[in-house]
Amino acid sequence: MKCSICNNRAVIYLNYSKRFLCKRHFSNHIERKVKRTIREFKMIDGAKRIGVAVSGGKDSLVTLHILNKILKNTKTELIAIIVDEGIKNYRDRLIKEAEDFCKKINVPFKIYSFKNELGITMDEIIKKKKREKSCTYCGVFRRWILNKAARELNVDRLAVGHNLDDIVQSFLMNLIRNEPFRLARFGEESGLIEDEKFVTRIRPLMKIPEKEIAIYAIVNGIKRDFFGCPYVEESFRHIVRNFINDVEEKNPGTKFNIFQSFVLVRNLLIEKYKIELGEINYCKSCNEPSSKEICRRCELLKELLKE
């Protein structure tokens, strides 16, 4: 198949816009879209130093790659923040890829580990706990470390690799669970929580479908090996992901339509919950921002360490 623009060999067919694109035109398409998203939501306006949460997976490497391209020859610095959860034969492989990639594109990086920051690795948590809650522990602890690391490294924005599929899945999951408050906290940036201890998160890839990120990573030599976490919970998100992918396959453009609804609903929810939220609290145990007296990280860690 030939590129709809230049007649070179196509690497992708965009079903929702009925276009074939070659490596060059597809890469331009992705980079332009990310730039537009950054501009639209003023993600990096006034930022002197941006931290990028890098796991070594395709989404975070592509985020770092594109931000590095955009910020080249500007005064805004980039630093990669790598979190080592301690998952043998999985995270150690990805961390090696992340380190190599940072060196290749000349971006400084710093590694924070669960072991140093919390005293326990994911491998040790799994030995103590049932595997069903693995993503909860990992997600809560990783977010806590990333925010603390971002502050320590003096970054004024923290870029994460969330893509269109992640946002659309979370939106539907929150609707199904009837948790509209959570929706208000998720989106182009952190949304509801404004506090000097909370580093604003940005999601430059939030309008890019996950498969397109994978293809961008392959054709640009960013990543070639793909493998999943051995502890992943194949539960509710898995069902929602399959459902959305089935609908997308039959009705191309579905993910974009859900995303547009999400932006609209979220803006209304922010207005509603900002009034009810009041002031942010700090966790009595770790002093990090929290909506409750004791934050979720401290609650979970206490429960783990007493066993």
């Binding site: 198949m1 992708i12 793909f226 999943g228 992918n245 997308e248 396959e249």
Partner: protein, 62 residues
């Protein structure tokens, strides 16, 4: 044709569009990328029974 998916190689009789091959195998196109002779191809590509196709899963949970 020879199809390689999740490390398993199998021989099947097929010629037609790559998207139809995925349907036949019950694989959602949203989570995989296809390669022919090591080169990435689109789901609209016509495949012949002599092709060797690698279907690589690029999207996992988590």
């Amino acid at each position: 044709m020879i199809v390689i998916f999740e490390g398993k190689k199998k021989r099947i009789k097929f010629s037609g569009k790559a998207s139809e091959l995925l349907k036949k195998l019950g694989i959602n196109s949203q989570i995989v990328v296809l390669f022919r002779n090591g080169k990435i191809i689109t789901e609209e590509e016509k495949l012949s029974d002599k092709d060797k196709i690698e279907i690589e899963r690029v999207i996992f949970g988590g």
